[in-house]
């Protein structure tokens, strides 16, 4: 069944089209809405076609880690809600949500878009911890890019809650934004036979040979990679996938 679907996808791709009529390098319509959850310090809802995710940022006070006493910290968590797909089950995070969270975390962390030193309040004692939770509402393919996009959009919209040095008042938000610069944009490229595709639909998301998730900086450099899928790829494939990701990242960046 999966094999038949894969063969159909490849035979269509050799004619330059996809199951839903899109071109191989074409995203579905992307919509980003920020400020969707009033209690969060920052939030964003991202739709890519019928895929829909919602991200929220909470800021907590932490004790800095001993090996980085002058820095705050970042945490990304992904919740694959059983609401969003018949394939997701209740329970502790499974390996798929852990991979999604870690890919998103690394994209943000390695872009150095958050100045973690500026998150420090008192070295060795107090610092801000930025917690980003991304929740899925509807999985119609390409959660990788939707989740990363929602996480960065929520981060960009976040403001500090009121803090007087002792008490944190989550009900009072300040107008001060997080110390951010140069956000990454994440694009995942999927390989079917000899063909490359972005933004897979639900069907395409089940049948790929390999995928490469690429986080791209504004200057075109890349700051994180993750290969997935059961098939190996050759070096030229990797660079074709990176090239496509860089081109598409410019398109996605316009929505931010």
């Amino acid at each position: 069944m999966i094999e038949e679907l894969r063969n159909e996808i490849i035979s269509l791709l050799s004619k330059g089209v996809r199951l839903d009529g899109r071109a191989p390098d074409e995203y579905r319509p992307v919509v980003i809405e920020t400020g969707v959850s009033k209690n969060a310090e920052g939030s964003a809802k991202v739709k890519i076609g019928e895929t829909e995710v919602i991200a929220g940022v909470k800021l907590e006070i932490m004790t800095p880690y001993p090996d980085s006493a002058d820095q705050g910290s970042l945490m990304v968590n992904v919740e694959l809600f059983p609401m969003s797909s018949p394939e997701f089950e209740s329970g502790p995070p499974d390996i798929n949500s852990i991979e999604l969270a870690r890919i998103t975390d690394r994209g943000i962390r390695e872009s150095k878009c958050i100045d973690t030193k500026k998150l420090c309040i008192t070295p060795g004692e107090k610092a801000w911890m930025v917690v980003i939770d991304v929740c899925t509402l509807n999985d119609a393919g390409n959660l990788f890019d939707a989740i990363a996009l929602a996480a960065t959009a929520a981060l960009k919209s976040a403001v500090y809650p009121a803090y007087d040095g002792e008490k944190l008042d989550y009900k009072k938000k300040t107008s001060e934004r997080l110390p951010l610069k140069g956000l990454p944009v994440t694009v995942t490229v999927f390989k079917y036979g000899d063909h490359f595709v972005v933004d897979p639909s639900s069907e395409e998301d089940k049948t790929y040979d390999a995928r490469l998730t690429v986080s791209v900086l504004e200057n075109g450099n890349i700051c994180s990679l993750q290969k997935g899928g059961d098939e190996a790829v050759n070096t030229e494939d990797i660079f074709s996938m990176i090239d496509l990701a860089r081109v598409k990242s410019k398109e996605l960046r316009k929505f931010m």
């Binding site: 969707v36 209690n39 909470k58 609401m83 939770d133 929740c135």
Partner: protein, 233 residues
């Protein structure tokens, strides 16, 4: 002390603005969205499908299973740790009890109907908003139902009986919160909880307020379903 005007200026019998939609989660068999003031709930229905674990199967009838969850960033205070808590499990259970009286799952032996409720933003009244969204979602999914379930909290703040408490009222020192689920046609009550001190006379008045307000909820639920199913010109 006397509570003269409500924190947000509403009349004591006035609910917050409500909005409702049906069919917003495409992967689900049915779905609903319900917003009351700043409290917002999504509900999605999957099934009837085979019940796992198998020992929970009932050869006589299908089983309703509800799961209530607050998104980690949805609360007015600190981040809510992901995953089930005692509170969320209890709310899942009372949600099942609120919905079960209107459902007929006898055609689906050994099956489960799963309802997932998720809250992206909360300002009290979350279990009621979840039940309102779930009722829309079950109707949207085409599950046999003999009534709609309309849930709203009523209660007391200081000396006043009122409906649809917001967070400030709910967390008030002299606040009494009473979530009520009303079956629209029969006007029977399928959810009733309370914490705080109240006289039987005041409780009766609070339930009356909830019943009156439930009609507005029903209209919003019906409009949401009509909006999805009526053919548009």
């Amino acid at each position: 002390m006397a509570y003269e005007t409500r924190f947000d200026g509403r009349r004591f019998d006035e609910i917050r603005p409500i909005q409702a939609k049906a069919g917003i989660i495409k992967r689900a068999v049915g779905s609903g969205w319900f917003k009351i003031g700043n409290t917002e709930a999504y509900a999605a229905v999957y099934g009837p499908r085979e019940m796992f674990p198998k020992f929970k199967q009932n050869p006589e009838t299908g089983v309703l299973r509800c799961n209530y969850n607050m998104m980690p960033f949805s609360s007015a205070g600190e981040r809510v740790r992901p995953g089930p808590s005692r509170r969320s499990k209890e709310i899942g259970m009372v949600t099942e009890r609120a919905l079960r009286p209107v459902l007929d799952l006898s055609e689906f032996p050994n099956a489960v109907v799963d309802v997932y409720i998720e809250l992206p933003q909360t300002d009290a009244g979350t279990r009621c908003a979840g039940i309102c969204a779930a009722s829309i979602a079950l109707a949207d999914a085409g599950i046999p139902m003999k009534d709609m379930v309309c849930a709203i909290s009523a209660g007391k703040v200081e000396d006043k009986i009122l409906v649809d408490l917001n967070y400030e009222e709910d967390s008030h020192e002299q606040g009494v919160d009473i979530p009520v689920a009303v079956l629209h046609n029969s006007k029977q009550i399928a959810l009733l909880q309370m914490d705080g001190e109240i006289s039987p006379e005041d409780l009766r008045r609070a339930i009356e307020l909830a019943k009156n307000a439930s009609d507005q909820i029903y209209e919003a639920q019906k409009a949401a379903l009509k909006d999805k199913f009526l053919l548009k010109e």
